[in-house]
């Protein structure tokens, strides 16, 4: 690798279409699990907030899942989801997203000031209605902060899927290592970072839109 330059630009020029295809594949592998994770985290979080006893066991299970190395999870799931299918990558990623999003949802709901909660009760909100109409909207900055972490983690983790045949941009790393050819590796790193950055910016924009009142309260968000 001594004479090999870090980047051979002609290779990038020759593979633009290929890189674009991998980028799209990567985004489609990494982002839907975050969305699905959110859709599961919201009702679970609401339930945990209403029935606090649920939270401990649930978060314990999710933490254990989160602690298992991603490659191991991918491999374990192959018998159920098949080799090189979307599901074999997306199911674990959904669990990872959930492991990040459930605590942020619960924390966000808990962070609603006691005075706000009591005022809502005193004005005649029932427990569920209060959760949906007052506590959940007030928790939006926390949810977005959780989504940012979950999305970036998912984008980064999805590349591991390349080892079982579905990894989007992750394939570039395997390719580069096998051929001792750094250009695809660099291209993969740059594209993954760019994807993460764009998604992050979109989420920050979403927060501005959904919670304009939280702009000043930086501490509540990130």
């Amino acid at each position: 690798m001594d004479d090999e330059p870090i980047v051979r630009w002609y290779w990038i020029g020759d593979h633009l279409g290929y890189l674009g295809h991998l980028l799209a594949d990567h985004a489609l592998l990494a982002l839907p699990p975050v969305l699905i994770g959110l859709l599961i985290a919201l009702p679970l979080g609401l339930a945990c907030s209403r029935f606090p006893r649920l939270y401990q066991p649930l978060s314990a299970v999710l933490n254990v899942v989160y602690a298992v190395p991603s490659l191991a999870v991918f491999v374990v799931l192959i018998p159920y989801t098949g080799l090189a299918t979307e599901a074999s990558v997306m199911v674990p990623l959904t669990f990872y997203a959930l492991a990040v999003l459930l605590p942020t949802t619960v924390d966000g709901l808990r962070a609603v000031p006691e005075a706000v909660r009591q005022a809502a009760t005193a004005m005649g909100y029932g427990p569920w209605r209060r959760l949906a109409a007052v506590e959940l909207p007030a928790a939006v900055p926390y949810l977005v902060a959780g989504l940012r972490v979950a999305a970036v983690a998912s984008i980064s983790l999805a590349s591991v899927g390349a080892l079982i045949g579905r990894g989007g941009l992750g394939y570039l790393f395997i390719d580069g290592f096998q051929r001792t050819f750094p250009t695809p590796i660099v291209a993969g790193i740059v594209l993954i970072a760019a994807l993460a950055l764009v998604v992050d910016l979109v989420l920050v924009g979403a927060r501005r839109l959904l919670a304009p009142w939280a702009v000043r309260e930086k501490g509540a968000g990130s």
Binding site: R117, A120, T121, A122, G124, V140, A214
Partner: protein, 398 residues
């Protein structure tokens, strides 16, 4: 009317919050529960809207046991204001105020129109409607909290230390505003505070509580200040309760020396400008013609305490009586101010201050409340500066 009948609260761990209280909260009046922390006053307040369920006895609202009413429905009919205002951070001011009307099923347009009315009622500028709570000062937030509690025009208003978290100047403004609102709206107000000053100022009836919600004394503010039931209540009232009692008496009882009768008191002479506004006191015995601040009071708006304060502050020992435009209408020496005391009926002979009765009118007016501009005098008068700061408070402290 709210009626506590042996209402008690024992926590599951056996500790007693309230032992069993009998109390009537009359319709259209302000009843203040005051006592040290841990006396159970907030617990009592929350029994009314079922945020706390009594473990013994019951609470009746216009004759109906609240335990028979569905909590959410009951609460929509009772205004509730708490210490930190508890505004919904994600809703604009207008939609915060419209909360209960919306819960009652009003359409958005009607609820917002009502909210806009209330914004005005509590003395906030219409352009605050579109702001979010974090963009308001503490005093403004509390006003929005009061507006939100009043939005569906509930007959009963529960207030749990609503003004404790704001600074004293803003607090005084909020108290004035509540007195003004109450003189217009005649709500049945149950107000909780640990501040005896506030209790005496706002209450038609003050209930001093000891631990476990035992009533140490139930009286109108006059009686409370002049005849505390025991040493414990006297200690709670503090040392200068006599002076504070002056704050409950209207300054209109002071017999004034008319301006035309002379402005000279010993060596001191009061100088007026062309508009009869006081400029200051001049010491005729001194070589220089230095002006000394002339403190004034408004007989129709202020209390005896303000009048005495003005007389004490004046170098001549004389307070200047002012009309609404800051023009001098007369003067009163310290002796003249104090002479107003026996002219009033003995406190025990005073009926409980009524909101709609003559006494109530006196009382509502008896608290300095000035919306008009400050008098255009070059002198800094104590009364004026206080009245001004209160007006600032009324504007929301910003």
């Amino acid at each position: 009317m709210i009626r506590f009948e042996g209402a008690g609260k024992r926590h599951p761990d056996g500790t007693i919050a309230v032992e069993g209280l009998d109390l009537e909260v009359p319709t259209g009046r302000t009843t203040v529960l005051v006592g040290p922390s841990g006396c159970g006053k907030t617990t009592l307040l929350r029994m009314v809207n079922r945020m706390v369920e009594p473990t013994s006895g019951r609470v009746l609202l216009d004759g109906t046991d609240v335990a028979e009413l569905e909590p959410a429905k009951l609460r929509r009919g009772i205004g509730y204001v708490i210490q930190q205002a508890g505004l919904f951070p994600h809703r604009r001011v207008i939609d915060n105020i419209a909360t209960v009307p919306r819960l009652l099923g009003w359409d958005r347009k009607r609820a917002r129109a009502r909210a806009a009315e209330l914004l005005e009622l509590v003395g906030l500028a219409p352009d605050l409607a579109k702001r979010y709570p974090f963009q308001l000062s503490g005093g403004q937030q509390q006003r929005v909290g009061v507006a939100r509690a009043l939005a569906a025009d509930p007959p009963v208003l529960l207030m749990d230390e609503p003004f404790s978290a704001v600074d004293p100047v803003v607090r005084a403004g909020l108290q004035d505003e509540l007195l003004r609102l109450q003189s217009e709206l005649h709500k049945t107000v149950l107000f909780v505070t640990h501040d005896i000053e506030e209790a005496v100022r706002l209450g038609d009836q003050v209930v001093v509580l000891r631990e476990h919600g035992k009533i140490a004394q139930l009286a109108d503010p006059h009686t409370l200040l002049t005849a505390p039931a025991d040493d414990g209540v006297a200690a709670f009232l503090g040392r200068d309760r006599g002076l504070r009692g002056l704050g409950l008496r209207p300054a209109s009882a002071v017999v004034l020396r008319p301006v035309d009768a002379g402005l000279r008191y010993g060596n001191w002479e009061l100088a007026l400008d062309d508009g009869r506004r006081p400029i200051g006191w001049i010491d005729r015995a001194a070589a220089s013609a230095d002006l000394h601040p002339a403190a004034g009071f408004r007989p129709e708006a202020d209390t005896l305490r303000t009048a005495l304060d003005a007389a004490v502050l004046s170098p001549a020992g004389v307070a200047v009586a002012l009309d609404a435009d800051g023009r001098a209408t007369g003067t009163a020496s310290r002796e003249a101010v104090l002479a107003a005391l026996p002219a009033l009926p003995a406190p025990s002979a005073l009926p409980a201050p009524a909101v709609d009765g003559a006494d109530g009118a006196d009382r509502a007016d008896g608290v300095p409340l000035r919306k008009d501009g400050a008098p255009g005098t070059p002198t800094v008068s104590q009364t004026d500066s206080r009245a001004d700061s209160r007006t600032d408070g009324a504007a929301g402290g910003r």
